[in-house]
Subunit: 283 residues, 2 copies
């Protein structure tokens, strides 16, 4: 079997075209969705990631601001800015780029964001609402993974291995997969004989950050492989999966880069659109 | 193999003796922990369950009140009572017995409970904090299951099947098991060939409510079986597991009744004690 490529860039492009059309409708009705990103310090990689979200928002017709703070900012200053953005009706979605400088508590700042503007879905009350099936914002990488999987057929009854138990990716994607009636096994660094077990699974979602962790010989024939790994080797971005060998066995596979990444940003935009609509309704 | 019985009543008795000693110390320091339970309507089973929590709290030296409301109570009346209990410094833990009458939104009432008095662990922010590893109250049946499993050896590296994906039992116990480095598969009604798969698992936690779902022939030799099922057949309380056949194969097994149930109530008491201590510290 030679796997079909799950081209994240193309899937994201189509999705964003639909979003742009919806943004246009909202604008005609008098609302321009706005995404505001807060960043502290001058880490180059973070800054470039923030700018790419910003540009992506503008490209589909939203407005987007970056609030750039000095690395010496105090916790109270960050909290004051969040409070101001919470109160500002022209701001629909708020992102805080992590990590924050060490003098600022990430926990406090994330809890300070108004839950209805928390388009990253990191506020504990939004995480809780995700697990109780209430209206919420789910986190964006898991949403992006689910979007890619829509292109591979129904998940009901499939056996899925999610590797990596972070509360940003592994755990929430396990929840979203379970909601689609998949049967999910959540694997991690302490899982016994992990790679030997993978042959039992129809879908593998790997979010570890360990290049070469999974090769073709670990996979069931026809498995669907979603690679959320994100490591830099010799200056090149690589995932957890040995793409060449895995492609021989898998039915679908994501490349790295150009797989999950573009969908993550797309889901930030989608959450911002949803936020704008909800805030409009509750006016 | 003939399984060792995980006797919930005895384990709970020992645990409650320790709690009573801690309550005594708190009382000497001037605080008597209080658990207040709100119930609406006159469902006999609910009322008897509420009374048993109430009695259990008093037995270990706590004070405990039942706020009994008429089945015709309005949502606002319930919310007003919750607000009063939130403000009352002598109340450390608040439970609301569900289901509530249909005119009262369970979601609204559970979100109205002050998170630091939410000893059931049902407030979305407490669920979110559970998933992000922050200070919280975990729900009591999952905590009770974990307490039983402490009597069976370390969970690290074990493969666990949790059957049933409710946000009260299956999902949070999967999270607590993952925190103990077990590898958890969350199964449910749409899982393909479920009982055939169970032979791969070292621990089975079944929370379905389907008598006879699991028999000895489904189990791996030496499996640990936690039966959270709770069905009434011919006037008798029964679990999901055929106890007699499963006992031949399992290494440990819980009876129904007398397995998980007594630990659930014990964990309500433990959460109330923790609530009293935390509220004392923040005074």
């Amino acid at each position: 079997m030679t796997a079909e490529l799950l081209n994240g860039r193309e899937i994201a492009k189509d999705y964003r075209a639909d979003l742009a059309a919806e943004v246009e409708k909202l604008k005609e009705a008098g609302t321009t969705p706005n995404l505001t990103v807060v960043i502290a310090g001058d880490d180059g990689a973070s800054l470039s990631y923030v700018r790419s979200k910003n540009k992506a928002a503008e490209k589909i017709g939203m407005t987007s601001e970056i609030v750039q703070l000095d690395g010496t900012v105090t916790e109270q200053e960050v909290l004051d800015i969040i409070a101001r953005l919470n109160d500002d009706d022209t701001v629909n979605g708020i992102l805080v780029q992590v990590p924050l400088p060490s003098q600022v508590s990430e926990e406090k700042v994330l809890e300070a964001i108004a839950p209805d503007k928390d388009v990253d879905g990191f506020h504990p009350i939004n995480i809780g609402r995700l697990y109780t099936g209430q209206e919420t914002f789910a986190p964006c990488t898991p949403l992006g993974i689910m979007e890619l999987l829509k292109h591979t057929g129904p998940l009901e009854g499939k056996d899925v291995a999610v590797i990596g138990r972070s509360h940003i990716v592994g755990q929430p994607v396990a929840k979203l997969l379970t909601d689609q009636n998949a049967t999910v096994t959540l694997m991690h660094s302490r899982t016994r004989n992990m790679t030997d077990k993978l042959k039992d699974y129809d879908v593998i979602v790997s979010a570890v950050g360990q290049p070469g962790l999974i090769t073709g010989e670990h996979l069931k024939e026809g498995a669907i492989v979603i690679d959320v790994g994100n490591s830099v080797v010799d200056g090149k971005l690589v995932g957890d999966v040995d793409f060449d060998s895995a492609s021989e066995t898998a039915s679908y596979i994501t490349p790295v880069p150009g797989g999950v990444g573009p969908l993550t940003i797309t889901m930030v935009l989608n959450n911002t659109l949803i936020a704008a609509k909800r805030q409009n309704q509750s006016k």
